[in-house]
Structures are given as C-alpha cells and as structure tokens.
Amino acid sequence: MSLDTISAEAPAYNFAYLDEQTKRMIRRAILKGIAIPGYQVPFASREMPMPYGWGTGGMQVTAAIIGPDDILKVIDQGSDDTTNAVAIRNFFKRTAGVAMTFRTADASIIQTRHRIPEEKLRSDQVLVFQVPIPEPLRFLEPRETETRKMHALSEYGLMHVKLYEDIAHHGHIATTYAYPVMVENRYVMDPSPIPKFDNPKLDNTPALQLFGAGREKRIYALPPYTRVKSLDFEDHPFSVQDWPDTQCAMCGATGVYFDEVILNDLGERMFVCSDSDYCEHRQEAGHFGAEHASYKERMK
C-alpha cells in the first residue's frame, strides 16, 4: 500500500468534532464562568480546523454545549449568509449533523459574531459570542499579569481614563463597538465587538450568554438576568447609535441597527437591517421599504 492510499482513509471525528474529555474541560470552564459572571476563565483552548481569530472560541463553546436535538443558527454581522457564518454552519453540519435554522425564534443555540439579534431572546436559548480580544483593559495595559491583578482588585480607574479622554477631546465618548460593560458591579467585561447599539440587550436577558475566545484561551459568561451596565459618567450617560429619519430600504423597519449599502459610484446609498432574518421576517409579514420593489425587480 502506498502512502497516498493510506492518506485517503478519512479519520472519524467525534460528535461536534471535539473529543468528550475536551468538551468536559470546556464545560467546566463555562460553569465557572456562569458562577462568576463577567470573569474571564482561562481554558486550554484547542486548535480547531478553522484559523484562530475566525471564531474558534465560539466554536469550542458551541461544540461543548450542543446536543443532537439542538437547532443551531450561526450569524456574522447579523447575517446568516456571510462567509464566516456559512463556514461555521457547514462545520457543525458536517461534524454534528444537527438541524440548522436562519430563524432566530427557532434556534436553541445562536452563535454570533459582532451582533445580537434584534428579536428578544428567550430563557430556552443560548447566545454564543465569538471574541477576538476578551480583555477590556488590553489596549490600556498590554500585560496579562497586570490586567488579571487589576480585575482581581477591581482597579478600573484606567477604564474611565479612556472615556474621560474621549469626552475631553471629542465632546463625547468615542467608543462605538466593543464598548466595555460592568457586570453585576464587579467585573468589567468586553462584550466582544458588537456595536454599542446592542449593549442594552446584554442586560437582564432571559437567555444564557456565553463568550469564547479561542486564541486568547478565555471563556466568560452572563447567566440569565444578569445586571450589565455600560460604563459612563453621570453627566455623560451611555447612549446608543440612532439613525433618525432612517428606515430599512427593504422592510421599512426603524430603530434597528443598519448596514449602509453603497448603490453606485455616484455615492447613492441605502440603509438595510443588519439582522437579515429580522428583515426577511418583516417582509414576509408584508412590511416593505422604499427600495423593496425595485430590488426585487433587479433580482429577477
């Protein structure tokens, strides 16, 4: 038998790729994270068959909690059909064979990168975040030994120094995504690079929220109904992005997070819902925006 034929035998992988011992290790980290909301639990992150930085932390968390009866939804930038979401969905299709859905309401586990769905989540759902840099203090203090100490001692003055600088120089806080939050008055946490628009959705949510950072080897969690407060000053309260007078060009929605789409080289643009499932759901229910008709026409 030549080496080339040996290599053709496909190795069998465990359900959801990771071996059971690894899953147990990750579950222990998750449980610890749930017990100490907002605290970053170090875990022995495994090499995944996807590159670090492409959601390996979220994938390991999902792989550790998923069962054959789960229904999985994967989104990136709010959409089910962006490249990374497709790749991760295919990975679980191949290794776990569980049911997949685009519908937020139908999913039992939602793995996400950079967004929280517009639709309110329920207590029987788990939201899994992909996290690139879990340490909210990292860009103020690059040393892990020091930041862990700062968390242990609740030394968070530095975090407000950053916000102070924003106001002093720009008149308001200039952090727009990955906006740091205080969890249960104890740990400052990075909510992953979601737009600050989504920050209020973290607070007091019925769903369990899990955060996985593969490259940085950290897991953290927000148990259901956790108090999550975005950092601010009394006289410069936290506020979210809003688009006054803007409607989704496809479904007419207002008060949601928008993607800006450039239509042509004259700089014409339209705004559409970032949450693609939410948008389609509305269109199916008969809500239409200004560009809906012409877009459908073009797509024919």
Binding site: Y156, L158, V161, Y164, A168, D235, H236
Partner: protein
C-alpha cells in the same frame, strides 16, 4: 484616634539583594505632618529603604507599622497585595525622580490628574475636570493646557503635574524619590518652593529621599543619614546639619558648604 502616635514606625528593617546588602536594621518613626529626609550617597541604601516602605519590595526582615485612618496599626507586610495596592492609590502618593515613570504619558494632563479620582469611584466628568483644573492651578500649570499631553510639557511642568496627580485624593503620606533630581537649578528652586507650600497647606507626611542636603534643609523637619545600608545619624534637620556628630555627616555637610561658598 491618637495623633501623638506615630503614623509610621519602622523596626529592624533589613533587605538583601541576594548576598548584596540593600539596607540593614533600619528603625525610625514618622509622625503626621512631618517631613523626613533620607540622605546619603548613591548606594547608601536610601532608595531600597523607600521601596520597602512603599511596599514595592518585600524586605528580608523587619516591620513597618502603619497607623490607618481609623486608628488601627498594622504591619504593611502582613497585608495582602490587594490591600497594599488600595493603600498606594488612596492613602499614599509616590513621586518618582523621572516624571515619565510616574505619569501616564499617553493621556492628557487632565486625565493624569483625574485618574486617581476615577479609581476611587468618582463618576462625574464635570467634577473630575473641575478638580483637575483646580489642581493644575495649584501647581502653577496654565489650566488651558488641561487637554494637552504631558509630552508637550517641560521637565519642571511634568514634575509639577506628577505632584498634582499624587495629591488630588488628599493622601496622608507621600514618598518622594529625588523629586528635583533631573531639573535645572532655577527650576529646582521653584519646585521646592511649591512643594514646601503645598505640604504645609495640606499637612502632609513626607518621606523624601535625596542626596542633596540643601533640599533636605529646605523641606524637612527631621533627617536620617544613611551609609552602607545603615542609619548612622538622625535627628532634627537643623541640629544634624548645624552640628553633625558623625565624621561622614560632617564630610557631607562640609562638602555642601564648600559648594555653597
């Protein structure tokens, strides 16, 4: 609370770096609103002593008893690192010789002064800014420079900013390590004058390490002379400098007089 009790009582403080002696069997007391100068040549152990007192290094043996605001007295080295760090950013200040080591050079002057306020829980931007402006004025920095980076400040201004940053939360005890070390003589004089005024206003307790007897004479109430890691003479500053008993102290004093003459 009994103010006649010392704020700090140091007993048998000894530190070795491996086999190399840092300081040996140092003992003294520091009272509230008292300025204590530690003088000696480089290598005499004065910086080691300062780093031990401020819990930056753990001494090989000995105690530093500290009286807290509530009156209870505790050995600093029986405290957890967490408690030590809280002390460092509330009750204490530390003014370093090089202001770049003591300042956050990446953020504005206002943020430098405001950081301690924020770290003790102040969450009102307007108030933090107002306090920062007040302090800039107190240390004679033009308040319109509040949003400028300390990088754009002169050495003297940086040192004054470092002092403001340390004093903004009204600490009880401030450590200073050659605070005028890297400055021109004229700038030094202005800074010393400023320190003297603020210390008197606030009633601070200070431990200042210096090799410059003129600085010690100007600022301190009492003085400790160190040589080879040990205290060789201590007492009221004027007494020690006017009538030094130890030959080494006499040498130090005479050398400064020669320079002065």
């Amino acid at each position: 609370m009994n103010a006649s009790e010392p704020l700090v009582r140091v007993e048998g403080l000894t530190h070795y770096y491996g086999n190399h002696l840092g300081c040996r069997d140092v003992g003294f007391e520091l009272y509230e609103s008292e300025v204590l100068a530690v003088v000696g040549e480089s290598g005499s152990g004065k910086t080691t002593l300062l780093n031990c007192l401020s819990t930056q290094i753990v001494p090989t043996s000995g105690k530093v008893m500290y009286r807290f605001r509530d009156g209870h007295v505790e050995n600093l080295f029986d405290m957890s690192e967490a408690e030590q760090r809280v002390l460092l950013r509330t009750d204490w200040g530390f003014v370093m010789q090089n202001p770049r080591d003591g300042l956050r050079m990446g953020v504005s002057a206002g943020a430098n002064v405001g950081e301690r306020l924020m770290s003790v829980g102040n969450r009102h931007y307007g108030n933090i800014r107002k306090t920062a402006l007040d302090w800039l004025e107190r240390v004679e920095i033009d308040p319109t420079r509040i949003d400028d980076s300390p990088r754009t400040f002169s050495g003297g201004m940086q040192q004054r900013l470092q002092i403001a940053r340390n004093l903004v939360t009204s600490p009880r005890l401030v450590f200073m390590d050659e605070p005028t070390g890297g400055l021109d003589v004229s700038v030094q004089a202005r800074l010393l004058d400023l320190i003297r005024r603020i210390v008197a206003d606030l009633g601070l307790s200070i431990v200042i390490v210096t090799h410059d007897l003129a600085v010690a004479r100007l600022l301190s109430d009492r003085i400790i002379v160190m040589k080879n890691g040990k205290i060789i003479e201590q007492g009221l500053t004027d007494q020690v400098l006017d009538d030094p008993h130890q030959p080494y102290t006499q040498l130090l004093v005479s050398s400064i007089l020669q320079v002065g003459a």
